[in-house]
């Protein structure tokens, strides 16, 4: 695949955040300050806009530039984490001018690693990680199983959505939601929803 596919992917992510803007505001309004819809919409749009012209063809440089744009645009908790995920993916894919399925899987693995490194959250902490991690695991399994890209994406999206749904069993330990202790358990984590949306966008991008 050409690296211009990454522009399509970023466009799908940007679009899905815009479509879910109000939903994310509402979800974050319950556990946090309600800004997530704004930061995700503006941030992924900035990421896409920065590379939309196709001038950069190196996959790594493209993802890193997208991350940098997002970091400058929406330097909030999730904004910085998502930007760092993109930048980490950029670092790890540097030099690639075409993309294999394994590279695509690597993008999300790097993305998760970047977020985990900056934020220090572990699986089960009721964060973005709980949405993205099952998806990354699913991508690895699909690679091993030789699934088609379309199947890989569909399974990963389903895994992310499941991971998101499972956050209603977890106790928040990061950010404002942690204040609420046991009362936080039954609430959905909005950052994990973002992970699920990213994977849905991925699924669309390969159809």
């Amino acid at each position: 695949m050409e690296t211009s596919y990454l522009i399509t992917l970023l466009k799908e992510i940007s679009d899905i955040m815009a479509e879910n803007k109000e939903k994310l505001i509402a979800m974050d309004g319950i556990v946090g300050d309600g800004d997530l819809g704004l930061t995700m919409t503006d941030g992924f749009k900035a990421a896409y806009d920065a590379v939309a012209d196709g001038a950069v063809t190196d996959a790594g440089k493209l993802l890193f530039a997208a991350g940098k744009a997002m970091a400058n645009k929406v330097p909030s908790t999730m904004g910085s984490l998502m930007a760092t995920g993109l930048k980490q993916a950029g670092k790890d894919l540097k030099g690639k001018e075409t993309l294999e399925d394994a590279d695509i899987a690597q993008i999300f693995a790097s993305y998760e690693a970047g977020v985990a490194k900056l934020g220090g959250a572990k699986v089960g902490d009721k964060t973005f990680i709980d949405g993205i991690h099952p998806a990354v695991e699913s991508l690895k399994a699909s690679l091993d199983a030789g699934d088609s890209l379309v199947d890989m994406a569909a399974k990963a999206a389903a895994a992310a959505e499941e991971g998101f749904k499972a956050t209603t069993t977890m106790l928040a330990v990061h950010g404002r939601a942690a204040t609420r202790g046991e009362a936080s358990r039954s609430l959905e984590d909005p950052g994990a929803k973002v992970a699920s949306l990213i994977m849905q966008a991925f699924e669309k991008s390969v159809q």
């Binding site: 704004l38 330097p75 908790t77």
Partner: protein, 336 residues
């Protein structure tokens, strides 16, 4: 949303333009970026103190940039952090050879901004940096175990950290010493707030939470996040009692201890009510044998147009008392 604005998208830009116009003699921006603001009265050889965070908390954070307090501030969009690049530009401008102390709220968004900035200026510009993270909100998390980093958020009490660190820096102490004083103030300050009404982020367009006409939210976050208890609105004295109970219990006090008290309006609370609260605080502290060295009453850290208030207590020793007494002249806060 009932606001005197032109458009939500221009809210920050136009607000900042107004600030530079009104305080032309004292404030300027760095490289034309309105969101990176420094004092015009830079004192050579002094440790630079900078801060940053989201807009919507005026006079926090930028209002304390000036003589005897802090040197610069990077502000983000409403309730959003400034960017790493802005924090880097700010640090470079604020340094005058003695290093730079970051004082900002313990909040991931800001940590993700200032830590990478510190890395970069240390690497690229050889600027020595240190950081102290405001973590005074007793309602935001339990106390941290010894040695563990606090998970509490920074709220109005950061004013005291600026005040003390600002005085130390103004006396030309070293970065290590200024940091030590800032840390002492930070460890000695506790805050708790109560909200009566929510606030509306202009670009969101609707209130951050819903609350009945006869309810209050005790321990709400400074962005309007849910607090620790929603209940019927009580008489002022009862609210103060509950808040002080939590604040005083969180830090051991001995009979005769002295404190500085900050009664802080969140944006829409009349000064009258803040003084009614002050009166009760005085009664309660007297009963507890805690002596008030100085009161600060007014809007020091707001949540746009939220109604409500917070109480901060800073436990003092002789060094901190001297810092509290130090004169200050900033756009929003002056002490003669």
């Amino acid at each position: 949303m009932k606001k005197i604005i032109n458009s939500p998208d221009n809210y920050i830009k136009e607000m900042l333009e107004g600030i530079y116009i009104a305080h032309e003699d004292d404030l300027t921006c760095v490289d034309g970026d309105l969101q990176v603001l420094v004092t015009k009265h830079k004192k050579e050889g002094k440790v630079g103190i900078v801060t940053g965070g989201g807009s919507g908390h005026l006079p926090l954070f930028l209002g304390y940039v000036g003589k005897g307090m802090i040197d610069g501030c990077a502000v983000g969009d409403v309730f959003q952090s400034p960017s790493v690049d802005q924090a880097i530009a700010l640090t470079r401008e604020a340094d005058s050879g003695a290093g730079v102390l970051y004082i900002y709220g313990n909040y991931n968004g800001d940590i993700f901004t200032f830590r990478p900035a510190a890395d970069e200026v240390e690497m690229e510009d050889d600027i020595e940096t240190a950081e102290v993270l405001g973590a005074d909100d007793v309602a935001s998390a339990g106390p941290s175990a010894p040695g563990e980093k606090s998970t509490r958020r920074g709220v109005a009490g950061i004013f005291f950290v600026y005040k003390c660190a600002g005085a130390a820096a103004d006396k030309m102490l070293s970065l290590d010493e200024v940091k030590r004083v800032a840390e002492k103030a930070n460890n000695n300050v506790r805050t708790m707030g109560v909200a009566l009404t929510p606030c509306t982020v202009p670009r969101v367009g609707k209130p951050s939470f819903e609350i009945e006409d006869d309810e209050m939210e005790i321990g709400m976050g400074i962005h309007g996040e849910p607090g620790i208890r929603r209940g019927k609105l009580e008489p002022a004295d009862q609210i103060v009692d509950e808040m002080l109970e939590k604040i005083v219990a969180d830090l051991p006090y001995e009979n005769g201890d002295e404190v500085a008290v900050l009664v802080n309006g969140l944006g829409a609370t009349p000064l009258d009510e803040q003084y009614i609260v002050t009166r009760r605080i005085n009664q309660v502290l007297e009963e507890k044998g805690i002596k008030v060295y100085k009161y600060y009453v007014g809007e020091y850290a707001t949540a746009i147009e939220m109604a409500g208030f917070s109480i901060s207590l800073l436990k003092l020793d002789d060094e901190l008392k001297e810092c509290i007494d130090h004169p200050v002249d900033t756009p929003f806060f002056k002490q003669v």
